[in-house]
Every structure is written in C-alpha cells, then in structure tokens.
Amino acid sequence: MTETLGTPIQGVTLYSFTRASHQREYDLEALIRKVAADGYGPGLEIIGFSSFRGFPAIEDSFAGWFKDLVVEAGLVQTSLAVNADIGIHRDRLLNQDELIEYMRLQIEAAAKLGFPIARVQISLTPDSMEQLAPIAEKNNVTLALEVHADQYASHPRILALRDRYEQVGSPYLAFTADWGATVTGFAPSLLEAYRRRGASEDLLAAVVDLWNGYYAEGPPANQQIHGQRFGSFIGLAAQNGRPELGIDFAINGTGLFGPARVEDWLEILPWVRHVHGKFFGIDENHEEPSVPVRELVTLLVENGYSGAISSEYEGWHWNHWQSPFDIVRDEQAVQRSAASNAGSRMITDRAEAASVLAAHLARPVPHLN
C-alpha cells in the first residue's frame, strides 16, 4: 500500500457499445453525446480502426471537430486503442521496420486527435517498445501495452517488457491492465447464450467445472499448457455431442477468462497508466458475477492508482437480450461503491478528471525495488 489512496477516473470505451454503433443506431457524434448525457464518463476511450474512417489518416478539420465535440460534451480523452497489425499481409508478418512505421502513423494519429495514451498490443516485443519510445516522446503519447487474457502480469512475456521498460527508463512506456486477465468464473451470461443455442445443463456444468479446475491451478505457465487447455474445451464439447460449440468454448474459456489472481497486478502496477475495466455482465443483485470488480478497484485504490478505468463490456458478443447501456451503468456503480468502501472515490467530474489524469501521466518513471 502507498500512503495516498488513488482516485481512479470513471470512463468507458465505445467498444462496449459495438452493437449499437454497428447497427447504425448511434453515429460517432451521437454515441459520444450519449456517453456524456448518461454519465458513463468523463473518461472516453475509442478504438481507432472502429470509429475513424480512413484511420490512421486523420484530416486536420476532422481532428478539430472531434476535439471540440469531446470538450463540448464534457468528456476527457483517455486512450486511443491502436492495433499492432503484424499480420496485415496475408502471406507473411511485417518486418521490424514496417511494424515501427505502422505504429508510428497510429501514434501520430493519437496525438493529432488529442489522446494522451495509445493502447498498444502484445505482438510488440521489448525491442519494438524500445524503438517506439522516442516516437512516443516526440508525440507526447504514452504507449500502454495491453495485458490481456491469455497473458497476465507475471507472465514471462510481460515481465520481459517490464524489465525492458525499467532499463529504457522512458516515462512513455507503460501498461494497460485488462481485468480479463484476472477473472474468477466462467461468465453466466455466456452460459445463458449457450443454453439458448441448445446446450444441455450437464454440458454447461461440465464447462464450468473444467474452467474452475484451471482457475484452481492458476494461469497457464507456457503456451504448451495453454494449448492443452484450449484442446480440452474442444474435447469436452465433442464428448457431449456438441462439437460445433467446441472452438467457441475454447476461445472464450482460455482467451477471455484469464485465471490469474487479483494480486498478480502488483508485478507491474507502477507501470500501469490505463485500465480496461473488462467485464461480461451484471446479475440480479447488480454485481458482476465473474469479474472481481470490487477487489480490483480496491487493489488499485490502495496502491495509489489515479488513472482512468475504462469500462469495457465484452458481453455484447453473445448477450443480445439486454441493453449494454444498462449493464455499463450498473458495473460503474459497482466500481464507485468499491472505491468508496476502500476509503476513496471515483472521479466523475470533467475538470477534476483532466487534472488528475495529467498528474497521473506525469508521475516519475518507476523503478523496480
């Protein structure tokens, strides 16, 4: 614990509302205005390739319009999610020079659009991050590499990044902590979706048992164990006469619901500059049944975290029967309650959020003890 409790900034990523935007129910402007009007902010995160046509090419006039809109709506830009599309050529992966150039264009787009953070992805190696640091510095954009299930904070790949960050010593190299790495159960809303596809109660109980067994064992130590777990979900579906559900069980069971413990985040917390409040649903008691939101917020508050928590609702993939807007509203209430119980609070005021985020990003470069 640090002496000063953190005051995380409430926020949301528009990714949570993918279905509403994909079905042309809200255009970008309408969705941003709704986020503000319904109180999901002040933090606003956007995925570049989802919301900006022609990304990462951004016209000056569009950038001006966008930044004015965010201010007028009373929101604060947190992270622009960018993508390390290393496989964009179907027959080969990008070479190192091509990858750095690909990321440079997106970092420049983040700066032009006014985002202080770019969320980057695990396909960037320690060497790539070191090479990108001066580009991030020149653009004043922090690169926050996402730690996402099936990775976790103490995974060797993540620790290698952390150790390189310390060696480089740049304030622009950081992590985004995605709560999907530290899940405690197979999401009940996904089980309901399988039920609606005709999966038997016996099969669903077996899926839950399999996942719980892996939770008890802890996260996979290497790719071989990860692969074995992936295959076991496929095998389970086949044994129960529903082979067509196997890949789905496997992708979700190993790729979305990461079984690391909440405390695992302490391995990298000084470098965490952004948080994805990944979650999958809300139950009848208005709690998240499979992501330990209360414990995660408590950990962040007690360790002095005052960056944004971007609520990232992933249940839209399968939950067609409930409003994502209601679900995000309820999950953010859980976050605020947890912060309050921990003796602190979430920041929901725009001006306060702007100053707290600036101070959070200006903190000294961390060092390992």
Partner: protein, 132 residues
C-alpha cells in the same frame, strides 16, 4: 462477433445471370482487403462458382485474388460491401434463401510464428429479389 448481421435484409438484386447481396463486417473494427480471405454465396441452395465471385468495396469491384494483396482499401464497420456472383434466379416475386460464408483474417492476433487468427462466419436470410 456479429455474424447475424452479415447479410443485409432486403438487398438481393439480380440481372438474370448474376445476383448480388449487401454484406456487413461481422467484426468490431475495419479490416483491409488483404484480410478478406474469401466468401461463398448461395441462393436457394445453388452456389455461385468461385471464379465468378466479386467483392465491391468503397465503390470499386475486386476479385478475391485482387483483395489478397490490397492493404489500401479498408472495409469500415458501418459500410456495406456487395458480394456478387453467377447465380441465375427464378423469375417471379417469391422468397429466396441467401447463404453467405465469410473468411476474415484478424491481423493483430498472432497464433503461431508466421500465422494470424482467421475466423469463418456464416449467415442465412430469406428475402425477395429486385431486378438490378
């Protein structure tokens, strides 16, 4: 993923030997032509021969072979692409069953040393045809 919205309801057109339908991306973010790896189109159970399939995106028509190396034209999540092929439609104003399969590469999810994830999605919808 959003496979239930791949085929846009009410967009089936025909000009005799060729038929076309509007399709939406079943994914949350834009992908370039190089990641649109293939499609199948069937109407009333009759598949279009693969060599007759065409993909229209951003106002330009492509073969799937042309898409393979195209990283300049992107399929934006709000845009409809048009998938067409040689499938003769019976005259009249009856309902037709349209089936579309799509294979997409997800360029940031690396699954082995030289390979990224690909997803295969399918949608079926029933609709009347309009003369193009």
């Amino acid at each position: 993923m959003i496979p239930d919205r791949i085929i846009e309801q009410g967009t089936l057109t025909t000009n005799g030997s060729r038929s076309a339908v509007e399709v939406r991306i079943p994914w949350y973010r834009a992908l370039p032509g190089s990641c649109i790896a293939g499609a199948k189109l069937s109407i009333d159970g009759i598949p279009a021969a693969p060599e007759t399939l065409r993909w229209e995106m951003n106002g330009t028509e492509f073969t799937f072979d042309e898409l393979r190396t195209n990283t300049d034209e992107w399929w934006f999540p709000l845009d409809s692409a048009v998938l067409s092929g040689e499938v003769p439609l019976a005259a009249g104003d009856g309902e037709h069953t349209v089936d579309v399969d799509l294979t997409l590469y997800i360029p940031y999810i690396v699954i082995s040393d030289n390979e990224v994830l690909h997803i295969e999605e399918h949608d079926t919808k029933t609709m009347k045809a309009v003369n193009a």
